[in-house]
């Protein structure tokens, strides 16, 4: 089931009704759990079994691990959880990719080998819910969390439908405590939740599917070189599309959860106003980047084993992060580029901070690191950036966005030849490129890109809630109505969210 469907409207209305009845909290949780299984099963019923398997095994493994003191058996139990979760992803998501590359490798050394291509359906959300359960078993293994004694609470933590298929990737500490006491949205939460749901649907249906996808699909779908303007417009269209689609989903998920009285973590924080790639990853798919930081980068050693090792750990993390998105070398290339840009940024900052080791510069850095965003900076993979003049910051943000768009080419292109052709066109390296997009398509992309970047820049150090609180009620109401009217005028898009395929 997708949020942008009539059946979800009915499903949600019924669930809200049940959730607000004077029923015991345990009954309400069972309702939520059954509703979550139904939400998943109406896509493909047999795959609910995989969800049950991951839930049951990890619940039992974590309970046993917490009681076990001996390192050997504890490691064995963790290995069971890792093998199951990573095995599921490996089989369904990477089986075909591995076979394809194995076949290509044998052919390259002259060995004729052809295996039947497995025709596997990728279970929706598998990359997300396996990471959720893994974070639980890993936290219990590292004794950073106690196992949850209630199977109902744990099952609901894994399966809670707002986050189930495309995140946010919740941690046990984010959600399990919320199930321990009765939750019902206050009027304010409910209304704000509905607003977020409206905004998320507007972003997905109107902006991503309605206005940006056609230009992106056209540009990435042609087999010939394009004029630079068209190439850039297509890439910017995809850049807008993927943000509006994915952040739209997360916004819907957060809104829906809030309507039921639950708080999910933010997943996006105006990434197209990021200054540098480390800032980008503090703003884009935040729950994935923090998951990779906490369960991959830091266990690999992070930056504690010297610079060389830090760069290696960064690259490994980003390469695997790229591969997480899909079984294709273009996703790996996307991850590699982000890794390279992060490394280059780290190198540059290290050099700059060594050069500017004067007392005045140190105190400026100390102010930043003690400021309101200090926790964010300290939590990042890389050292914090000292803010400068607004114009310089804006210029750096645009520079970051330019490079992010270069990486999006690999993310969206079906293969490297398409990516190479598009990049060549973008930078004017291929003469005779053809114009493709109509004037109206160019205008749509232009207006929406400026609007999106502008909105991100204005809100980068704030929040939507704060911005909404500053508006008079009639302006907020008119804006809300505009979102809904635009949704009605765009009509239904029955397309699923881009991140469902990951």
């Amino acid at each position: 089931m997708v949020f942008n469907s009539y059946v979800f409207v009915v499903f949600f209305a019924v669930l809200l009704g049940l959730h607000n009845l004077p029923l015991p909290w345990r009954v309400k949780k069972i309702n939520l759990l059954l509703a979550s299984y139904l939400f998943y099963a109406v896509w493909n019923p047999p795959f609910v079994v995989l969800l049950w398997l991951a839930t049951a095994v990890d619940f039992l493994v974590a309970r046993r691990m917490a009681r076990e003191q001996r390192p050997g058996p504890r490691k064995l139990l963790l290995t069971i959880s890792l093998a199951l979760n990573l095995g599921l992803i490996g089989f369904f998501k990477y089986g075909g990719f591995v076979l394809e590359n194995f076949t290509a490798l044998l052919h390259s050394v002259g060995i004729a080998f052809q295996a039947a291509k497995p025709d596997l359906i990728l279970p929706v959300g598998i990359s997300f819910y396996t990471f959720v359960t893994l974070s639980y078993t890993l936290d219990v293994y590292r004794r950073q969390a106690e196992p949850e004694p209630s199977f109902l609470n744990f099952a609901l933590f894994v399966t809670f439908f707002p986050h189930l298929v495309a995140g946010p990737i919740v941690r046990p500490a984010d959600l399990i405590p919320q199930f321990k006491t009765p939750k019902q949205a206050s009027r304010e939460q409910f209304l704000w939740g509905l607003f977020l749901l409206s905004l998320g649907l507007f972003m997905k249906v109107t902006l991503a599917d309605g206005l940006l996808a056609p230009a992106a699909d056209s540009v990435f779908g042609v087999p010939f070189p394009l004029a630079p303007l068209d190439a850039w417009a297509g890439v910017l269209a995809f850049s807008g599309q993927i943000f509006c689609d994915f952040a739209g989903y997360s916004t819907c998920a957060i809104g829906v959860a809030l309507c039921l009285g639950f708080v999910l973590p933010d997943n996006f924080r105006y990434p197209y106003a990021a200054i540098g790639f480390s800032d980008f990853w503090r703003r884009w798919h935040i729950t994935l980047s923090t998951w990779l930081r906490d369960y991959l980068y830091i266990p690999l050693g992070g930056n504690r084993a010297g610079s060389g090792r830090a760069y290696l750990n960064l690259m490994i993390t980003m390469l695997l992060g790229g591969l997480w998105h899909g079984a294709s070398w273009t996703f790996v290339a996307w991850g590699a580029l982000h890794g390279l840009f992060l490394c280059a940024e780290r190198l540059g900052r290290g050099w700059a901070s060594r050069r500017a080791a004067a007392p005045s510069a140190q105190s400026a850095a100390a102010v930043v690191l003690a400021g309101p965003n200090a926790g964010v900076y300290r939590a990042s993979l890389l050292p914090a950036f000292s803010p400068g003049e607004n114009l310089t910051r804006f210029g750096l943000a645009l520079g970051t966005l330019l490079l992010v768009n270069v990486t999006w080419v690999f993310f969206r292109a079906a293969d490297f030849s398409t990516a190479a052709r598009l990049l060549g066109a973008m930078f004017g390296l291929i003469p005779g490129g053809k114009p493709l997009l109509t004037t109206i398509d160019l205008l749509k992309v232009g207006v929406l890109t400026v609007g999106l970047v502008g909105a991100h820049w204005l809100l980068r150090d704030s929040s939507l809630r704060q911005a909404a609180a500053r508006l008079p009620w009639w302006l907020l109401g008119a804006g809300w109505a505009t979102l809904l009217v635009a949704l009605v005028l765009t009509q239904k898009s029955s397309s699923s969210f881009i991140y469902f395929q990951f």
Partner: protein, 338 residues
């Protein structure tokens, strides 16, 4: 914040309801009628009927827009008791669907194939095949959630004219803006507003307002000139055509081998469109060759006085009343051929 949100929510609700009521009133006053969105779900809902068996199992119809307009489903049902399965796709070659049905071991019904030359004989992998491939990819994955949503959607679409995606959306509005394009940019010509509707059974029909408007018909003719009615280049022959014919024959033989039946149909065209089709796809080199190569029966409208006297208001499709009469004349001919 609660007071702000409450008042904002109330205002938003009021404005949205006012918009919906106002918009629905406006489009009905502008003579727009109910039309069902011809999307993946509607196609899938038809496709699931292709396996129906027995004397009342309707023929499966594949092709382009001509069979959607010109074969009147209600007339067919009235005369035969059968409910046809309409799988034709506007502006699209039916060959991918023919291939898919040929490869489907469970399909053994009757297949009527509309041959609109420039679409039917479009090269493999051409843009004219895109929609067919999309539909073929989507229908096996038509999930329970999508089916439930479709059922709800049909309830709304049967009551609200404003839900017409082709004519009344933001994108439809943007497409109609008179903004000139850069030289070299190929854009789809603007069709006349509100020229046709699509039924829940995928029956297409011209609207009454279109049939009353010479200006709109002229606009459609101008669009057709950009989409083939002014074409002078002969359709691909030689090895390209031979490869296509082989693929078609294979599918036809597969269906007939399972006890199914296949019949090709050529619907009427007039004026400049007919001239272009005659020029670019001479009958002897394409239609006649198709029938000879596949050894499948075919009905060409020009061969039968009962079918040959109809006029197409915009050169390419029949008006609803004529479609009913055309179908009434076609039914006995199809029975005879099959």
């Amino acid at each position: 914040m609660l007071t702000t949100l409450s008042k904002a929510a109330a205002l938003a609700s009021l404005l949205v309801v006012a918009f919906v009521v106002g918009r629905e009133t406006q489009v009905r006053r502008a003579d727009y009628g109910l039309s069902y969105n011809d999307d993946d779900s509607l196609w899938a809902s038809q496709h699931r009927r292709v396996y129906a068996d027995g004397p009342l199992a309707g023929p499966v119809l594949i092709g382009s827009s001509r069979i959607k307009f010109d074969l009147d489903l209600a007339t067919w049902t009235r005369l035969t008791g059968q409910v046809p399965v309409q799988l034709a796709l506007t502006g699209t070659s039916p060959r991918p669907v023919l291939t898919a049905l040929g490869n489907d071991p469970n399909f053994r019904g009757t297949l009527l194939v509309d041959v609109t030359d420039q679409l039917f004989f479009a090269p493999d992998g051409a843009p004219q095949e895109r929609k067919a491939h999309e539909r073929l990819r989507a229908w096996p994955k038509w999930s329970l959630a999508q089916q439930a949503s479709f059922w709800l959607d049909q309830k709304l679409e049967s009551r609200l004219v404003m839900l017409d995606e082709e004519e009344l959306t933001l994108n439809a509005f943007c497409k109609k803006l008179p903004l000139p394009n850069r030289p070299g940019v190929r854009s789809f010509p603007a069709f006349a507003d509100n020229f046709a509707t699509n039924g829940a059974d995928r029956q297409s029909a011209f609207t009454a307002s279109f049939l009353r408007s010479p200006a709109q018909q002229a606009q459609m003719k101008a669009a057709w000139r950009k989409l083939g009615a002014a074409e002078t280049k002969r359709g691909a022959g030689g090895d390209t055509l031979l490869a296509q014919l082989r693929g078609i024959k294979r599918a036809v033989d597969q269906i007939r081998g399972r006890g199914g039946r296949v019949l090709f149909l050529r619907f009427p065209s007039t004026g400049e469109f007919l001239a272009a089709e005659t020029r670019c796809y001479p009958r002897a080199l394409f239609w006649d060759r198709l029938l000879a190569y596949t050894q499948a029966p075919g009905i060409h409208y020009a061969d039968y006085p009962a079918l040959a006297h109809f006029d197409c208001p915009e050169w390419s499709h029949l008006a609803p009343a004529d479609a009913a009469a055309f179908t009434e004349a076609l039914v006995p001919l199809v029975s005879y051929e099959l």
